[in-house]
């Protein structure tokens, strides 16, 4: 009996291994062509909602042009380094790398240099000195302060158009701010530049609360529960570093009876995820900022493809390089006025 169960267990393990390996085989056969160059791509982790759209954009633009060697780095730089070695040995003509840890760029550049391969980093920005150290290294991304600036502009425009939002009529915008993970460059930049932009537009502000919601809907909802109970209608604006937290705040506001009748609270986020677009359409969210996944994927692929074919990276594209050899894809403000444009990004 014991032997039988042992054999059964072994069978299960062998079968599951076989099942896994066969699925990876079919993956690589579908992406391999004859004349097309192999481009090695790593994504820092597959289940990041933004990166999943960048990944899809890269795949879409690569159809018929190149065969992609796609890797999920599972949020581990060590895994990614191994994947780079594998891609190089598989004969990739260029690398498109979404770093796990931006500080690790030098290691990747060393590997690429040794194999004389061009490398395009995207979405996570390596240090400028690393890009400068290798003539075949480029970057595709955004200017991280820009998302905060644009969020600030969305707030300024909406605030000026709705004087009634200043509930106590004191001419001061009393806001609460849901911050992302402290120390995260995006969280720091968005917090600073959103508020700076509002102040620069001549609006006086008062910070009622600022706490980290760790990018998380559930945490943001619980913070907002406490803040509504503490400040009530004294809160005149809810600023969130990302849409996930903005949506959490909206859940809390809903439960507290906001968005019914004329009880309203302006909420602003960043990312333009589908759920946030729906809330904007429902009138429960004022605006968000689109981090343009489609165009980041497009630029990443076009640069990686050009350099794989031995052409100039910008050959036949709409992009320009800045001083640090980087293509900066602009952020876009999204409100009810241009919601269709944002929805297009998910089609």
């Amino acid at each position: 009996m014991k032997k039988f169960t042992a054999i059964l267990l072994m069978l299960v393990m062998v079968l599951s291994l076989a099942a896994c390996s066969s699925s990876t085989n079919s993956d690589s056969t579908t992406t391999k062509g004859d004349e097309k160059p192999i481009i090695g791509v790593t994504i820092y982790k597959y289940d990041d909602n933004f990166m999943s759209f960048v990944r899809r954009a890269i795949e879409n633009f690569a159809t018929d042009k190149a065969s992609l060697e796609m890797n999920d780095s599972q949020n581990s730089q060590a895994t990614q380094n191994d994947q780079v070695d594998t891609m190089i040995s598989k004969g990739a003509k260029s690398l498109a790398i979404n770093l796990v840890d931006p500080q690790a760029a030098a290691t990747i550049v060393e590997k690429a240099k040794a194999a004389d391969l061009p490398v395009v980093f995207f979405n996570k920005e390596p240090d400028a000195s690393v890009l400068a150290s290798y003539d075949k290294a480029w970057y595709v991304g955004t200017t991280s302060s820009e998302s905060g600036v644009i969020q600030g502009e969305v707030i300024v425009n909406a605030w000026k158009a709705h004087p009634e939002w200043d509930r106590n009529g004191d001419g001061v915008m009393s806001y609460v701010l849901l911050k992302g993970e402290p120390g995260h460059p995006d969280a720091e930049a968005r917090t600073k530049y959103a508020v700076d932009t509002i102040v620069a537009a001549g609006i006086q502000v008062q910070e009622l609360e600022l706490q980290t919601g760790m990018w998380d809907s559930a945490k943001a909802k619980e913070l907002m529960d406490a803040w509504i109970s503490k400040h009530g209608d004294a809160i005149e604006m809810v600023i969130a570093n990302n849409d996930g937290m903005a949506l959490g705040a909206i859940q809390s506001l809903n439960a507290a009876g906001y968005f019914e009748g004329d009880k309203f609270m302006p909420v602003v986020g960043v990312d333009a995820i589908p759920d946030a677009l729906e809330q904007i359409k429902a009138g429960k969210m004022v605006g968000t900022v689109l981090n343009d996944a489609k165009n980041q994927g497009k630029a990443t692929f076009e640069l990686a493809y050009n350099v794989a074919m031995g052409k100039d990276p910008l050959d036949g594209t709409e992009w320009t390089l800045d001083d640090s050899k980087a293509v900066r894809v602009p952020y876009v403000a999204v409100t009810i006025d241009n919601i269709a444009f944002a929805e297009e990004a998910y089609k």
């Binding site: 909602n49 809907s217 959490g248 995820i273 759920d275």
Partner: protein, 344 residues
């Protein structure tokens, strides 16, 4: 020795016992006093119901894993099972007119159907945990560690799929959202539905622990499984039942969690197992098994919720909240151990 001095001694011992047995409740009240001193507006009905509502799903999780702990086990896969339940129930209960549905052609289901379905699924995964622990004698820590990773993989495969990839599953059907976010008014007091579910879950579990053969066997197996086996308890079957029961609670709680948050991702529930286990231990359950009470579990959950809510209300730095939470876990277990040593 006169009768009087004996009485005095007893009294002293009694007070000592009382302090030790209720130390954690005393800590809770001390913390609340500090919070109230810093922010007097903390004393309000709204805050009270907020805390209870936020503690509700956590209570359900803690009841599940608490039962396993009494049976001398543990369950690290709790958080990931909650995530699986949240993702599946959310995907099956999106609003019919939501533009980014996972299943665009799915008919409108009665809310209870997906909830029962995920309870079945988590009950199954948890049952496998129980089987591995009971029949293959794998240490519960290891068995559920493995299951934690497996379930995360399963959830991620389910979650990261076309047409929209790894997007938070939102746009929940208002019927479903209302299940967790709604409330009823009773004479001026707003009682969130969540609190009612938690009370029902607590009642059911209290009944199972204290009024059934299952409860007697649970404590017997947890206290001394050899002795239980000798006295005719089928220990293996008992363990499997305990894990399945916990799984049912995870499934229910996970669905409510999705409805409460309003969306779900494959990271929903991440780390909840540690919160739930910590609450159980602080509430007086022991990893040595066979010790614990439902009231203890509820107290443990409430302590952490009061701290989390109160400190956020006062505006204490999030990092300092971690330190306070950690200290409470260690102090509570230190006290618990003293009780245990004395009994020996």
């Amino acid at each position: 020795m006169s009768v009087n001095t004996i009485k005095k001694k007893l009294n002293k011992q009694d007070i000592g016992h009382f302090l030790m047995n209720n130390a954690i409740i005393i800590v809770l009240f001390a913390l609340m006093l500090v919070i109230i001193a810093l922010e007097p507006s903390f004393v309000s009905l709204k805050n009270f119901t907020n805390i209870l509502a936020q503690a509700s799903t956590r209570t359900i999780f803690a009841l599940g894993v608490g039962t396993i702990i009494v049976a001398k086990g543990t369950d690290l896969s709790l958080g990931r099972q909650v995530g699986l339940a949240a993702v599946i129930s959310a995907s099956l209960l999106q609003a019919p007119n939501y533009a980014y549905k996972m299943y665009p052609d799915l008919p409108i289901l009665p809310v209870i159907v997906p909830i029962l379905l995920v309870m079945l699924i988590t009950g199954l995964f948890s049952g496998i945990n129980g089987l591995v622990v009971a029949k293959f004698k794998v240490d519960p820590f290891i068995a559920t560690l493995g299951m934690m990773v497996i379930v995360y993989g399963v959830t991620s495969i389910y979650y990261d799929r076309p047409p929209y990839g790894a997007q938070p599953i939102g746009g929940l059907d208002p019927r479903f959202a209302n299940v967790a976010q709604g409330s009823i008014k009773l004479g001026g007091i707003t009682i969130p539905f969540l609190v009612i579910y938690a009370v029902i879950a607590v009642t059911i579990m209290w009944f199972l622990w204290n009024k059934t053969r299952f409860g007697k066997n649970l404590f017997a197996v947890g206290g001394n499984s050899e002795a239980a086996a000798v006295s005719g308890v089928n220990v293996g079957r008992m363990l499997i039942m305990v894990y399945i029961l916990a799984g049912l609670f995870y499934g229910l709680g996970g669905s409510l969690e999705a409805a409460r948050i309003g969306s779900a991702t494959n990271n929903t529930g991440n780390g909840y197992e540690l919160d739930a286990i910590a609450a159980c231990i602080v509430g007086g359950l022991s990893f040595s098994g066979g010790i614990g009470s439902i009231a203890g579990i509820v107290t443990g959950v409430l302590i952490f919720q009061v701290i989390a809510y109160g400190l956020a209300f006062v505006g204490v730095n999030a990092y300092i909240q971690y330190i306070i939470k950690g200290l409470i876990i260690i102090i509570a277990v230190a006290i618990d151990n003293r009780k245990y040593i004395k009994r020996k």
